[in-house]
């Protein structure tokens, strides 16, 4: 049975698109068939993060309006055979995302893939609502920082009230993914702790992704971090999160400060 997963946050810049790409690639690497759908109409970026920006022909709006069929709009990843992308339109506006149109596309995608991962735009407007509307489960991307936690709380409220699942009286499974976690600041007590965020939002933890230069490097190259830098700590956290989404019961790794020999040496000399 296909699962529709929305990656959402409310706040912008917390790592939704990075997460969509990295989680999607991690799931696809295990052999699951995965499609990533960009809902950020007018400001698409998932194509760029996936390195497919030169190959976009048709988009989600073209499919909704019948200018192209789904097979023509889907872009197959060149690195992982089971991974595809449905880009958002860059030129149309969000009003073109009709509820019926999105419903039709999502139900068609359900038939073709094991996972349909919807990359939500920031905010709580139409694009974000459409991205979450048909979801079976949600990943809420949050930074350990006050405004991000507040916005996540708002989004959790929307997931529990406006979605199809909520309207049917069912409970939407939600998972917290803490991103841009800084082990050094966590150790010094200058960052909201994982426990604090979990207590405030009270949803289960999917993983903790450390702030990492590998993520920036991967986006420069146009590859999900789980493909570009698979041995990095960030990729490890996403790989773990993907296994947890597939139902495995594994302990969440809490990122720790990892220092090289030279760092220690310099610290010692500076002291």
């Amino acid at each position: 049975m296909a699962k529709v997963l929305v990656v959402t946050s409310g706040k912008g810049g917390v790592g939704k698109t990075t997460t969509t790409a990295a989680l999607g690639a991690a799931l696809a690497k295990t052999g699951q068939s995965v499609v990533l759908v960009d809902f950020d109409v007018g400001l698409r970026n998932l194509d760029l993060i996936m390195g497919a920006e030169r190959r976009v022909v048709f988009d989600l709006i073209n499919v909704i309006q019948g200018d192209a069929n789904l097979a023509q709009a889907l872009i197959k990843d060149k690195r992982i055979e089971t991974l595809s992308l449905l880009p958002a339109s860059q030129t149309r506006d969000k009003d073109a995302l009709t509820a019926e149109g999105v419903a039709k596309v999502v139900s068609e995608l359900r038939k073709k893939f094991d996972w349909v991962i919807c990359d939500s735009p920031a905010g709580i407007e139409r694009g974000a609502q459409m991205a979450m509307h048909h979801a079976d489960m949600a990943v809420i991307v949050t930074n350990p920082e006050v405004s991000s936690v507040r916005d996540s709380d708002r989004i959790i409220g929307m997931l529990d009230s406006t979605t199809e699942k909520a309207r049917a009286g069912e409970k939407m499974p939600k998972h917290l993914l803490l991103t841009r976690y800084d082990p050094q600041r966590a150790a010094s007590g200058d960052m909201l702790g994982t426990d604090d965020v979990l207590e405030i939002l009270s949803i289960p933890l999917l993983g903790i992704v450390p702030e990492s230069p590998d993520v920036l490097k991967a986006s420069n190259l146009g590859a999900p971090v789980t493909i570009a830098e698979p041995s990095s700590a960030a990729a490890g956290a996403y790989m773990e999160a993907a296994r947890r989404l597939m139902g495995e019961d594994i302990k969440v790794t809490i990122p720790t400060e990892r220092r090289g020999m030279l760092d220690w040496l310099f610290k010692w000399r500076a002291a």
Binding site: R54, R55, T91, L216, N220, L221, G222
Partner: protein, 105 residues
């Protein structure tokens, strides 16, 4: 360790990011300005090419693949049309002949 990995690393990632952005933005500016709406041009080309093909053969929309590769110097629009096989047509023709015969009988 970091200087060692820098030594052995082939190429840093920022120049790749810059090149990708330059190509992408050159194309996007063209289509957003409206001066030479490239997205529309592609849609138009696709539509008109398909019209010509449809005049001669019936094409299943699911068997048309469209690929795009935007480059710095030139872009490639690739339209793959699966033409119904000769055997299919012969089979249909046989059926038709048979029908005709049946009618004659």
């Amino acid at each position: 360790m970091s200087f060692l990995s820098n030594l052995f690393n082939k190429r840093s990632s920022a120049p790749i990011a810059r090149d990708r952005l330059q190509i992408l933005l050159a194309h996007e500016r063209m289509s957003v300005d409206g001066s030479g709406n490239q997205d529309d041009l592609l849609a138009k080309l696709h539509r008109e090419i398909m019209e010509v093909i449809k005049r001669h053969i019936s094409v299943d929309q699911d068997k048309v693949q469209i690929k795009m590769d935007r480059g710095a110097q030139c872009s490639v629009l690739e339209i793959d049309v699966e033409v119904p096989g000769l055997t299919d047509r012969l089979a249909k023709k046989d059926d038709k002949d048979k029908d005709d015969k049946d009618k004659k009988d």
